[in-house]
Amino acid sequence: MNRNGIAIVLTAGIAALACVVPASAQITAERLLEAADEPENWLTYSGGYDSLRHTTLSGITPENVADLRLEWVYQVRSRAGAAEKFEATPLVVDGVMYTVTPPNDVVALDALTGRVFWIYSHTPSQDARVCCGRVNRGVAIHGQTLFMGTIDARLLAIDARTGRLKWDVQVGDPRLGYALTVAPLVVKDRVVVGPAGGEYGIRGFIVAYDVETGEEAWRFNTVPGPGEPGNETWGGDESWRTGGGSIWVTGSYDPDLDLMYWGVGNPGPDWNGDSRPGDNLYTDSVVALDPDDGSLQWHYQFTPHDEMDYDAVQIPVLADMNWRGEDRRLMLWANRNGLLYVLDRATGEFLHGSPFVEVNWMDGFDENGRPNQVLAPSEGGTLIMPNNQGATNWYSPSYSPETGLFYIPSWVDTFSVYTKRPVEYVEGQQFVGAFPTMAMPALGTRPTNVRLPEEGYGAIQAVDPETGAIEWMFPMTDVTDSGVLSTATNLVFAGGREGYFYGLDARDGTMLWRQSLGGQIAAGPMSYAVNGRQYVAIAAGAGLFVFALPE
């Protein structure tokens, strides 16, 4: 008997059986919209279009989480060093798990046992250029097709049953620094991606392709050209041509408003804005697009004319709640620049902004939510908080409707000294300026930690989105690149660079369970169920670890 209980009888002549595809195996647009109705599956990078990274499975609770034990491990086949972090969140569809091991291997596993069905291995071209490791954050699925971006800037469509390539398109030129590391987003019958490469003077965009054919449907330029609204915010000598505006974390979608939201990366060159006077839209912004034609409906810019590399490449978290007395459709955003934002996701209206770590580059907002900047890089060097890697970054926060708290994986008390140096654009090379100082390594490459406490530390912080107050903090000695998963049973799962994976009480941050996994956790946890039994999965070091309660 296979997973779906269909007996496969090996008798000659019963050829029709092989062509029967169980209806449950098709991931239709409807199933993606109603993903919350099947919590045993994890159908998108963030678990659902609202990107709460929250599971309503109820098997694992604060009372029994201490009994969690390791069920299986899948170890990556390619070398996964510190610069090839295992960043993918797996999908689970009806007992089959799909994930990507670095740099670009798609693997289909039995979610029950971790055994391999098939592997599709893409060998990136030597032309591929990356700033921060040959990483990939996962696949998307539609119908029977998986979609993966590659570090040599291709988008691949792969048959989910056989691992065979169906189509592929070249999205950008890798020799100019364009790469794909984002887990794609499927909305209706389009698969949507954007390029990484903000350190290479790319000109960013969000692009949608037809899921069946790979034909380009529309493109939105995150750095507008002449004639496009926002181009007037790029002064200097055609600075928009190398303006950055990368895309490298999966967006969100509100089907009622029919709006798709994406966070946009930093302007180029990173650490010297003299050649690009102006606000540099839409870098460091959230853009709300019509998914049918990619047209811009609204935008909000978190860090205008950024010279601190504060990419707004975070997950847009779409939470509905009674907020200061009114039922509202909100967007919660914990930004790399150290500020927590609450926006109205229908209009982009700025509702609230407050720091969730120490911030010194700005000292307040005007009534439209524009930050008042007080510090910037200088020739002599300026100490700015938070540091260049940010108070948080691409890894996923979580919102729990049960506790009403927003959980932010944070780097606390960090700083960088930013120095302004001259920069020149050379095709295919980094276009950044002088690297700011960092007390802690950006990519977690050292095996030992001898840092002083005042150099910063990591924490999971639980923030009240109504007030911005930090309700509790779970500190860690080293920083974290881990996402957070919250559960309806009031647990929070998260980890950090030390390789500990934690189960915390979502209400007060008490540590209820921990497991040492021996390698940095730089991915988001997720949860799924098979045959009614709940599992929690997390990538750590060079392995994917799956936990469950004893049967």
Partner: protein, 242 residues
């Protein structure tokens, strides 16, 4: 619980601004480039080998000429073009001039060796060629890694420059004992160190009252050495090459 903390901190006006002079930055950038690209042949004081004393000559050469040499190399010698940009070469030039101004001259290496090996007590903590203590930085070949000015500074003020892998801590245990040693590693639940007695020691934070970073246990030699004797010790250390 911590509601209002953020607002209070914000209102307190956090403005931890530090500015570094351009010269200090150039020196440190130039120093890093010099260490990586030049020190292997020219030595930490710029005085090794066939090239002779390049630090002294850097003071004599006009700025542009020096930068040109750093970028383009010297035809007919082992110094090939460096590939540095004009800006980078400028920082190296600034660094060389600083080295020239900060060097220790004179000193008798044999007298210095006598002090280090016996009365100085140095080998209680440091080792040279396999002889000595484990807890402090190994001084084997130190002359090829540190400028004479740095060696002098460390003898007078051991806390002036402490590399991150040589930080010392006092681990105060709940049972009243204190373990002092060099910090090797730490995480949220445990601390690993090399004790003063040279033993690898792991401590659970559950047993730890406090972990305090302390000043270097090395005493200053400012009072124990005349300036002449100090030069002797520095001279001896600069002769230590692998």
């Amino acid at each position: 619980m911590r509601a209002g903390l953020l607002a209070a901190a914000w209102l307190a006006g956090i403005q931890a601004q530090e500015t570094f002079t351009a010269i200090e930055l150039d020196r440190s950038e130039g120093g890093a480039l010099y260490e990586a690209r030049c020190m292997g042949c020219h030595g930490p004081d710029g005085a090794y080998g066939d090239a002779g004393d390049i630090a002294a000559r850097s003071v004599e050469l006009a700025g542009d000429d020096l930068v040109r040499v750093i970028i383009g190399g010297v035809a007919g010698t082992a110094m090939s073009p460096s590939g540095l940009t004009a800006f980078e070469a400028g920082t190296v030039a600034a660094y060389l001039r600083f080295v020239a101004s900060d060097r220790v001259t004179g000193g008798d290496a044999a007298r210095g060796r006598e002090f280090v090996s016996n009365d100085g007590g140095c080998l209680d903590c440091h080792a040279i060629d396999g002889v000595g203590g484990l807890i402090a930085p190994d001084l084997t070949g130190i002359g090829s890694r540190r400028r004479s000015g740095q060696l002098r500074d460390s003898l007078l003020d051991p806390n002036a420059e402490v590399r991150t892998e040589y930080r010392f801590v006092d681990a105060r245990l709940r049972d009243g004992n204190t373990v002092r040693g060099r910090l090797l590693n730490q995480d949220t639940f445990s601390v690993q160190l090399l004790s003063m007695a040279g033993r690898l020691t792991a401590i659970s934070r559950a047993d730890l009252d406090a972990l305090e970073f302390i000043d270097s246990p090395m005493p200053s030699y400012g009072d124990r050495l005349t300036s002449g004797a100090l030069n002797d010790v520095v001279r001896y250390l600069t002769t230590l090459r692998p």
